[in-house]
């Protein structure tokens, strides 16, 4: 029968689909990584261990900067406080690519975009932000060059490192300017570090999460909302897993006081979690939009968040 022969022919072609050599290493990597994750009883310890592995190779200085920026607070408190405050302004803020590194060496590659902000009326603020962005970008580039040395002379498909730094303007209006900088490093699997820069344009300062609220009550309120969103998402997608009900303990119960966040173009508060913060690596980074009614009674400023 023509039909049957065709099927057999296709089956042969199917079996000839080449399985790449990287597959083996990738599988062993995930299995080992997940194993290491499971072995650590305390979830916080888990996260710290994984962050350490992700950070390996960073030079001391870069680690210091990264840790200050990523641990919840969008920019370091010291940094935020040193910004001079000059009253009100409007204006069009542009974010341009100041510098673009495109590097290809053997099988590794990096694409690092260093953004530059133009048009903030507060030039001091702008200058400080740009200096920080440039410093971060250069550090990523240096880090890539360091790491790539480990790959010199290594043969085979698996010897590749990829780094990507890009940015995205999340909001730009009269009240708020929010910028996101993503650093993605791929060694077998991808690790993404994200930093947010959120500027209160009217007050001319960089905003930290606690400053948005009149009391610490926001922590509980936001956490509860996020947990209910997580439950709903898991119901809708059975392959999605959040650590909220794990027998192993160490479940997510609360955001950090200075959890990573930004304000989106609709004026909503968005809470961001890095990979491994609230679930296994495969769910990646997660974000939750917090409905304004949930937090409106605790807001210090009722115009930034709508």
């Amino acid at each position: 029968m023509v039909e049957k022969r065709k099927l057999e022919e296709w089956k042969k072609q199917y079996e000839q689909i080449e399985v790449p050599k990287e597959l083996d290493k990738m599988l062993t990597d995930i299995i080992t990584k997940e194993e290491q994750v499971m072995v650590l009883k305390d979830k916080k310890e888990r996260k710290r261990e994984i962050m350490k592995k992700v950070m390996k190779g960073f030079t001391g200085a870069a680690v210091a900067v990264c840790m200050i920026v990523t641990v919840g607070v969008n920019v370091s408190p010291v940094f935020a406080q040193s910004i001079a405050e000059i009253p009100g302004m409007e204006g069009l803020v542009k974010v341009l690519t100041l510098k673009q590194y495109d590097v290809e060496k053997d099988k590794s590659e990096a694409h690092i975009s260093i953004p530059e902000i133009k048009g903030l009326e507060n030039k001091e603020l702008q200058k400080t932000l740009n200096e920080e962005l440039a410093k971060e970008g250069e550090a990523s580039y240096e880090h890539f060059l360091e790491e790539i040395k480990d790959y010199e002379g290594v043969e085979g498909e698996t010897a590749r490192l990829a780094m990507n730094v890009d940015y995205e303007v999340l909001a730009d209006n009269e009240d708020v300017f929010a910028l996101r900088v993503n650093q993605t490093e791929i060694v077998a699997s991808a690790n993404v570090e994200t930093k947010f820069y959120v500027v209160d344009k009217k007050a001319d300062k960089i905003i930290t999460l606690p400053e948005l609220f009149t009391s610490d009550g926001y922590i509980k309120v936001i956490s509860e909302n996020i947990i209910s969103q997580m439950k709903k998402q898991m119901e809708e997608d059975e392959s999605l897993v959040y650590w909220i009900d794990d027998e192993m303990g160490g479940n997510f119960t609360s955001i950090a006081k200075d959890q990573a966040f930004y304000i989106n173009k609709d004026g909503k508060l968005v809470i961001s979690f890095n990979k491994y913060e609230v679930g296994p690596g495969c769910i990646g980074q997660r974000e939750f939009v917090i409905p304004t009614e949930v937090i409106k009674d605790l807001l210090a400023n009722k115009t930034i968040i709508r």
Partner: protein, 160 residues
Amino acid sequence: MNKQITRQVVIDYILQNKASLYRVAYMYTKNKEDALDVVQDTVCKVLSTYHTVTEETAIKTWIYKVVIHTAIDTIRKRSKYIYTDEIETTDNEKIRRDRYQNVDLHEALRQLDDQERALVTLRYFEDLKIQEVAKVLDLNINTTKTKLYKTLKKLKIEME
């Protein structure tokens, strides 16, 4: 007495059947990079949720279900890229695309929808029993047989 599902049992299954997982993913993504991503996501999900599977015999159909679900999700997310034989790049990604090695196979199956694709791949390329195919796709056996038959007809018509 059902053997308890241990992590090792799941890992063993994955490693023994990695080629199948990859190929099933590839039937949807049609390129190597995305297929690898799909397998990676699948393994990760499977290792996080295996305690929901109650018997060892169910592992096979369950893992197939996850890989197909993940593959479909992945191609939907990436539908902003058009898969042609030409290589497309964006500002910050270089995607290496391999040309279809098996034009005949992909050409013929191109017209199938996600479920039809799964039916043919699972039954005729992965040699699953009809009951197993039904389980993977969450259909009853009769529906599975009917849909499979219709799919074959569709393919045959196209071939003429």
